[in-house]
Symmetry: C2
Subunit: 895 residues, 2 copies
């Protein structure tokens, strides 16, 4: 026979903490605590299977359930030494939901169940407090009417209000026992009027009503919505916990409180929490009275009067201390506790792993590993890598009072202060003068890069989490708020408006990229700390991870940041951004306008010294670490002005012909630039471009080797390949340039030539391509765009709806689409390695810094992931977790 | 020991026609003819393996070669009854290349080899014609000096010119024996001066020189270029044929000629050809004298005087007749022959399968099958399906004198006459008045569809073979010339210019879409004939093909054409073009501008009757044949005006708000529309659009079933799916609409709901999608775009270069990229059928009408291909060939 009901309490339990699937989180933890001999009010749990059966069978319970509930109730009466419905010694119970995953506030609860006109008198006598008894009774009627009977609660409030007016009371605390008794009578009349029959006085009827309501609440709109948004399957169902009531509001020897076994905001190892004498849990939450700290030390530190629990109830506090210590030791994690003291007796109502800040999570994990409570590996698995992001950037001081201008998307984390600038050139000029600037734009484009680089933070009125501004800002480690839709920029007036508020160019603002907020004025900041616990945890992570972690970096500043954050090389050094520099763009445009090869070669010759200097600087910083340099990738029209007006401006500034510029710009215009004339396609038609880049790389590498005695390890990456033929044509030219440079410089350096795998055909033909390519780097951004037919620039408009409607499980530009795009990655790895056993495999798309994707890449067997410098620590930790997860998603502590 | 040399002639041969790989095409056919006992001048072939060895061993011959050549030469002397280098009875030979595949004019030939100061006298005596002998000698020196010695030929021509001037001769024919003798002496002096040694007089030395030159010519630039462009592997090598010379210029009993065993332009079964008395092959080609017909009947039909070969040399003619008949019977195909008559004796110099027009190919194949010369299956394999295209469209009368305005790309075959119109609306209006119009545009866009439909042909100044105009025109069967870059349209003046020529609106022009020509005036036309031989061959093809052939058709006219051409259903009925009609576009725009669901529903309600009528007409035409209707696919911005000006115009015309139009148009603008908010993504956000379309389909189907008694077989196709979830959401709504309509109409019809597979992710997730989808139709256009990262609208700019440089073997939008895109198709078929055994599989991309692609789809196991109506016969034949090819590329006769 199926066991539908599990009892707990009185020093024994049918279940335990491992049975969350069957008993729900709350039920399993109550069972576990009882089993540990901790003071838990006894009770029983109706399993999640009851819920499943209930819905499977048209809302009917399993046949055996009633008998099992009766037996559990009898056992509960025995343990509590009270009787359900007994007028003299009544047992009151709470009925609460408890699903596998916490769904706070989503489902229903009924307290004080078992009260009726007879038992309320027993409660009054037992507690010696008739006011308390009738207040409890009226609360029960209210709650039951709302949750179980689904009656309108307006009438209750009106009635209570009318009585208070009549008595001239300001608050409920002035109500006395008789007042509550009168209210109870009136509430019962209201129920009978609305329901057409009296309020149920039979406690068993009450109990089944409440059980039914909790199961029904599994399918209420709130719960369905919450499940959808949190990916909780409907099939899990909820359990129902029926537990003896204990009362913290039975006078001054009673109390209620919440506690954390360590400080949830700093992680310090000190008992932390609050309590209220003579109160119920709701009172702590309601905020009518101010709770007191639990410990004397905390009270004193806060400079408060009154008494801590330690001082007011030293024996209870001593027991609570023993309990919390044993719970933390037992669960091997920081616990979040709820307790009640009923007339000097401690009852534990809940324990669970406590939520904590990133900083606290780090400190707790490191401390616990040092205390040998958990292993270093467990410590690694305890940290959500994404949380680290909060620790790597300057943040706004938690106590700072924020003057919000507007909200947008938290596109790139961290915070920064600066003056408002609207024009990228102006931003660059002011930054050169040492001013801290914040670039505020409608949206950004590749032409704005220099201004973005010069700015401390970026704000855009349009664009999503994967807009140009967002992607570039994350890459540069600049805080960014994107899609701040309320902002209206008026360039001519030199202001932006949010509603009626006007912010002028030059005014100081603060951008909080972690929260997506734009604030007036200069906020106080907190700087990140990369040593201490952070350094310790990273060192542990580095010991266990298999994959290397590189950074995407294209400037010396990026490279230095990358090294600081522990990058083991550069996985993607884009070269196109180097072309946008003011000194260079003219030569780039000249090259694009050239209609003969010689003219192109001449224009490229002007760029070459710049490129050589770029590469030399990066090689100097990176030493012997590998540096993957990607040849020019974007379509050429990205370097040209597009409108007639812009062409005229550029012509004036550069001496180029405005009409030729416009004509060429139109000629190069593309309907779908993502699928256009870009990447190595440029070099098939204009091979001299990559020749120049190869020469700059090899010359820089030779020069730096001569200067530093360290041999740079260049890995040359050819973008947008779809066939071996393409790759071979280009590789042959690279090798020829290398041989020429090495001969001229009298020095030979090792280098690799490999390719991006960023198109489905490249993944499919990987076996062939790997015959020539010495490494693959997965460009999962473009691979996602093409495999899914989703333009990253455009998908923002509907991707939200798609994830909401579960057409897609998540944004595939954030976490890799393992089933689709991932299969292509897997295929390419397999085919590539079959053709070349030691083929180096890496990833350089945005996914390289996403923990779920990193776990996927570990399973796929990549050699390294590469991500923006600020994500390097995240990737290091995620890679360690993935290595420890044995190819599964990292198991994080329940929160 | 390897046999490097194969002799032929004298009624025996070491080789035969099956040995093309070893002996080359010419050598194998000469051997075969000799073996058949036909009069072939004897000779021998140095095999292609000699060539391969030659290049493998640093241009050295195999050791045994010299001895084998000596032996073959001895045997040749015996058969010819002449001796090489014998002054009295000299053997002269030709030395010719002959590769496996014909490479006309690419490699070198030396004639009259063996002549020197001694043998020339023997030749003079034997022929009784010293002038002939010395002329032959000087030709030999010239040819040998050019081909073997690689000397500059300018000096020869100067010397000859000088002598002719001196003698006051106008042409070579005036030169007498002594003149030629003098020239020979001077030529030899020129050689000695340039070479530093005398012209080789030893025939053996001459022979080895010529053999070496022919082998060397395998690697000359012309040959390398030709091989690259014709995909002939370098490793094949060439053979060298050494053959006894015969002379058609030994007086009036000698002659030379070419012949076809049937008429190569009509296919009629009559001997066809030309000859010249007392001439060499070169003379026929040179065109100095006009050749005469071979038969008396032909001569009389042409109204010519003189004598046919039949009349002049009846015995030779009788023998030639026996020879050609036996050759045709032997090769079982129409033969292209070369022959020489030397003093009344017939020699066959060459036979090969003859080139022919499409019409002739058809007639010959059908006739030969009827004659039982070949089987019906062979007849099917004999026709290049693409050739059929010439037969399916009206064409310009071959004798019509063309007045060319300009050339462009042959974007859509057929020819049409009409008056020039520049505006699509005007085209539609004039066509409605019964005028034949030709739309001339810069380029076309989806908004021009109605005008394109109304036109007889389309000309664009820009765009390639896969531009919008080209694709749509092929789909509609309208002739189209695209990319006619010389055209400058001046809308305001109402003219277009080509150079200084001006063509006005309203002037009559003719468009030849097969040739890519635009002509002045109305050309005489020939209408296609779909019965007769064509019908017979199609019936034979239909008997053997496995795959069904459907048409892509979206108008009643298309549907009728499709049925006429034998389509077995509609594989793709796009619905978006139905939205562009003037009456409807306003409602479409209203729908797009609506910001509330109700407003969208109201606008859609206006479209519904139109859609219902569209579908009803198509169902009526198609009867019980399946009709696959694709729900709305393009991004919504395609239906909106884009510029401020256009928005104002539309606003004026429709009463919509211009600013709202522009704002919405900008809001919907996409960076990469190909990868944007389109296909079923529209229906995820605006489900009411597909609801309307589904209702229109089911209501129309029920109405037509009631009216005709025939149940339409609707197959509803959901575009741009990437996940089962998407498909399920939409299918559920379709099924609900169907149930509603069937209930209302009191009739239930069968229908299928399936999906396009047009994105890599859809192909990869096919197993999952097929759990819900009842059919797949491969949208190989978009699948190619995404798998290869190639925008069809943009790739035209570089695809040519890519194919030229062999980065891609062919344009992947013309023939499917079997290795990349094809693997995705294969995977999807496999996974789809694993999930749903009877999953219906088809293709509806442009590839459905491409024979190479059809062969691929046969191998992939598709159930049908669908292509534009005019391609249906091509697809039927290609499908038959593919079925007979047993999964291989169809084997076509050598040409």
């Amino acid at each position: 026979m199926t066991q539908w009901v599990y009892s707990f309490g009185g020093g024994e339990s049918a279940g335990d903490a491992s049975m969350k699937t069957l008993l729900g989180g709350k039920g399993a933890n109550l069972a576990e605590m009882a089993k540990l001999g901790l003071p838990v009010p006894p009770g029983f749990t109706l399993t999640t299977e009851v819920c499943t059966e209930f819905y499977k069978n048209d809302r009917k319970y399993p046949a055996e359930l009633a008998a099992q509930v009766d037996a559990a109730l009898a056992s509960l009466e025995k343990k509590a030494d009270k009787k359900f419905g007994d007028a003299a010694n009544p047992l009151l119970v709470s009925v609460r939901s408890g699903a596998r995953a916490s769904m706070p506030g989503m489902m229903d609860t009924v307290l004080n169940l078992g009260l009726n006109d007879a038992t309320v008198e027993g409660l009054a006598k037992l507690s010696g407090d008739p006011r308390f008894a009738y207040d409890s009774y009226r609360r029960f009627i209210q709650m039951y009417s709302d949750v179980v009977l689904e009656l309108d609660h307006g009438a209750f409030e009106e009635t209570l209000g009318a009585l208070k007016d009549e008595r001239d009371y300001r608050s409920d605390t002035e109500m006395n026992a008789d007042d509550w008794k009168q209210i109870v009578a009136e509430f019962k009349r209201i129920v009978e009027r609305q329901l057409g029959k009296p309020f149920p006085s039979d406690p068993k009827e009450q109990l089944w009503g409440a059980i039914g309501a909790v199961f029904a609440s599994w399918m209420n709109d709130r719960a369905i919505f919450y499940r959808k948004h949190n990916n909780i399957p409907e099939s899990w169902g909820t359990a129902v916990n029926v537990q003896a009531m204990v009362f913290g509001n039975m006078g001054d020897t009673s109390a209620t409180g919440v506690a954390f076994t360590r400080d949830p905001s700093t992680g310090e190892k000190k008992f932390y929490g609050e309590y209220l004498i003579n109160a119920q849990g709701e009172d702590v939450v309601a905020g009518i009275r101010t709770p007191k700290p639990l410990t004397k030390a905390a009270r004193q530190a806060m400079g408060e009067g009154g008494q801590s629990l330690e001082e007011a109830m030293p024996e209870v506090f001593a027991e609570l201390t023993r309990v919390y210590q044993s719970l933390e030791a037992h669960y091997r994690d920081m616990q979040d506790l709820e307790f009640t003291v009923e007339r000097g007796r401690l009852y534990m109502l809940q324990t669970r792993n406590g939520k904590r800040t990133a900083k606290a999570a780090l400190k707790i994990a490191v401390d616990m590993a040092r205390e040998k409570l958990i292993s270093e590996n467990e410590a690694i698995l305890r940290i959500d890598p994404m949380q680290l992001d909060q620790l790597l950037h300057p943040t706004i001081c938690p106590n700072y009072h924020r003057s919000l201008i507007c909200k947008g998307l938290p596109a790139s984390p961290g915070a920064a202060v600066g003056i408002v600038v609207f024009d990228p050139d102006e931003a660059a000029a002011l930054a050169a003068d040492g001013r801290a600037v914040i670039l505020v734009r409608e949206e950004t484009s590749p032409e704005d890069i220099h201004g973005m680089h010069a700015s401390k933070a970026i704000v855009t009125a349009r664009g999503g989490m994967t807009s140009h501004a967002a992607v570039v800002a994350r890459g540069m480690g600049r805080p960014c708020v994107s899609g701040a839709g309320e902002i209206r920029i008026d360039i001519e007036e030199g202001v932006f408006r949010v509603g009626s508020r006007i912010v002028k160019k030059g005014e100081t603002i603060t951008v909080d990229g972690s929260m997506g907020e734009v604030l007036m004025g200069a906020a106080e900041m907190v700087q990140p700390e990369l040593t201490g616990d952070f350094g310790t945890l990273m060192a542990w992570a580095d010991k266990v991870r298999r994959m290397q972690v590189r950074a995407n970096a294209e400037t010396p500043e990026d490279a230095r940041t990358a090294v600081k954050f522990g990058a083991e090389g550069i996985g993607l050094c884009r070269t196109e951004h180097m072309f946008f520099d003011a000194e260079r763009i003219a030569a780039v445009r000249e090259m694009i306008l050239a209609d003969k090869q010689e003219a192109r070669v001449a224009a490229l010759a002007k760029l070459e010294p710049h490129q050589r200097k770029d590469f030399a600087e990066i090689f100097r910083i990176m030493g012997e670490r590998p540096v993957t340099i990607r040849f020019l990738d974007p379509p050429l029209h990205e370097f040209l002005p597009h409108t007639e007006e812009d062409c005229a401006d550029v012509a004036k500034a550069t001496g180029l012909d405005a009409r030729a510029l416009l004509a060429r710009s139109r000629e190069l215009h593309e309907t779908n630039p993502m699928l256009g004339f870009r990447g190595c396609r440029l070099a098939i038609v204009y091979p001299e471009i990559y020749d120049m880049q190869a020469r700059a790389i090899f010359e820089a590498a030779c020069d730096v080797a001569a200067e530093t005695g360290k041999a740079p390890a260049a890995e040359i990456m050819i973008p947008f390949v779809i066939s071996k033929q393409e790759f071979d044509l280009i590789k042959a030219r690279v090798d020829r340039v290398a041989a020429q440079v090495f001969a001229a410089k009298g020095r030979t350096l090792d280098y690799l030539v490999g390719t991006m795998i960023e198109l489905p055909r490249a993944a499919l033909r990987a076996g062939e391509i790997a015959q020539s390519a010495e490494f693959f780097s997965f460009g999962t951004n473009d691979l996602t765009q093409t495999a899914m037919g989703l333009s990253r620039d455009d998908a923002g408009k509907f991707l939200g709806t798609f994830v909401e409607r579960h057409v897609l499980p998540h944004d595939p530009f954030v976490s890799i689409d393992a089933e689709g795009v991932g299969e292509l990655v897997g295929l390419a790895c397999e085919r590539g390695r079959a053709a070349r056993k030691r083929l180096k495999l890496g990833v350089c798309g945005e996914h390289g810094g996403d923990p779920a994707s990193v776990a996927f890449f570990e399973r796929a067997g990549l050699d390294y992931v590469s991500c923006s410098p600020y994500r390097v620590p995240i990737a290091r930790l995620a890679a360690a977790q993935a290595a420890r997860g044995g190819g599964e998603e990292p198991v994080l502590p329940q929160r």
